[in-house]
Subunit: 194 residues, 2 copies
């Protein structure tokens, strides 16, 4: 039996990332879990949505660049910290050791196993929130989280997931099944049905 909860957002868990930007000449970071994948292909576009009041908004609008870094489970306190403290009254520029990529205004965090540099593509207006859509320009991954074929091993990344109802960060579990594969048996059975 189902209950109608009203117009509740139940699209959880989402992935917790740290968005980096240069604001008033200084690297600034904030935790964001309201992210999205737009398309599949090249150019590759990602989104994140934040309240327009955030200090980071002006920096992204000025430079049209930002970073999206994936913290691992060991970084959950730092991740939460950059989510509860505003750059408007706290300098977060020396919280992380940084490294440079291809863009001048997409600060990258060394301790994050995976970091993406993004160029702003467009901004969507949603009343209280701005949704920033960026094109991925380069993705930097720690050698220790790469498989032999050079792809990212998500189990080694140990990403931080987010759930609003429990107000908690969650870990990733185990592989369940192969995509575009586990449904093939059902496809055959249904095709054989008289």
């Amino acid at each position: 039996m189902k209950r109608n909860l009203g117009p509740v957002n139940a699209l959880y868990p989402s992935l917790t990332v740290i968005v980096g930007a240069v604001v008033e000449g200084r690297p600034n970071f904030l935790a964001v879990a309201h992210v999205g994948i737009m398309n599949h292909g090249q150019p590759q576009y990602l989104s994140f949505g934040i309240n327009k009041k955030h200090y980071t908004v002006a920096g992204i609008m000025e430079h049209k660049e930002f970073s999206v870094c994936l913290p691992n489970e060991d970084m959950v306190a730092e991740t939460d910290f950059v989510g509860i403290v505003s750059g408007r009254n706290t300098d977060k520029s020396d919280l992380f050791e940084l490294f440079s990529g291809e863009l001048a205004h997409a600060p990258l965090i060394k301790s994050c196993p995976v970091c993406m540099e993004c160029r702003l593509d467009r901004v969507l207006d949603f009343d209280t929130h701005s949704i920033f859509i960026g094109e991925v320009v380069a993705t930097h991954a720690e050698e220790t989280v790469l498989r032999e074929d050079g792809k990212i091993d998500i189990a080694e990344v140990r990403p931080v997931l987010f759930d609003m109802a429990s107000v908690s960060y969650w870990s990733l579990g185990s592989p369940l099944a192969s995509c575009w594969s586990v449904g093939k048996g059902l496809k055959r059975r249904l095709a054989d049905k008289p």
Copy 2:
């Protein structure tokens, strides 16, 4: 030491959902893991992006309504199946037992622990992909996945996560820490620094 992988989408895991729509007068379903949360508040907006070639596109454009249902781990084969078989040549309308909500063209799946009905808000154009942004109109959750306070218990939902690099579905792990809380210790330590 980090390696530059080029412009790779590393925003994984993402949440696997089954999108439902009425196409050519019949309920149709497809698996989508490229989803996004836009804002936080009311109205609440969600996104999903699919290749424009998909059969479902015409149905959403016609009725301006769709559903977003969360399968659980037990449904991984059915979920994969609706991702590998097109409604163009396979009738998927009787694969699931359905139920009705508030919208006439947002078919809801009984076996999914959580189902959202969405009204189309806008469509973004990304070359090969259309990004559909919907406003959540109603969210239906199985009583067995609700906590005493009426909120969704994500551990009971047992959602199906998706990772492109491993081409696999993944389970959710365990709670790591409390949001807007675990970073408070760091905040105090940094505030006390001379």
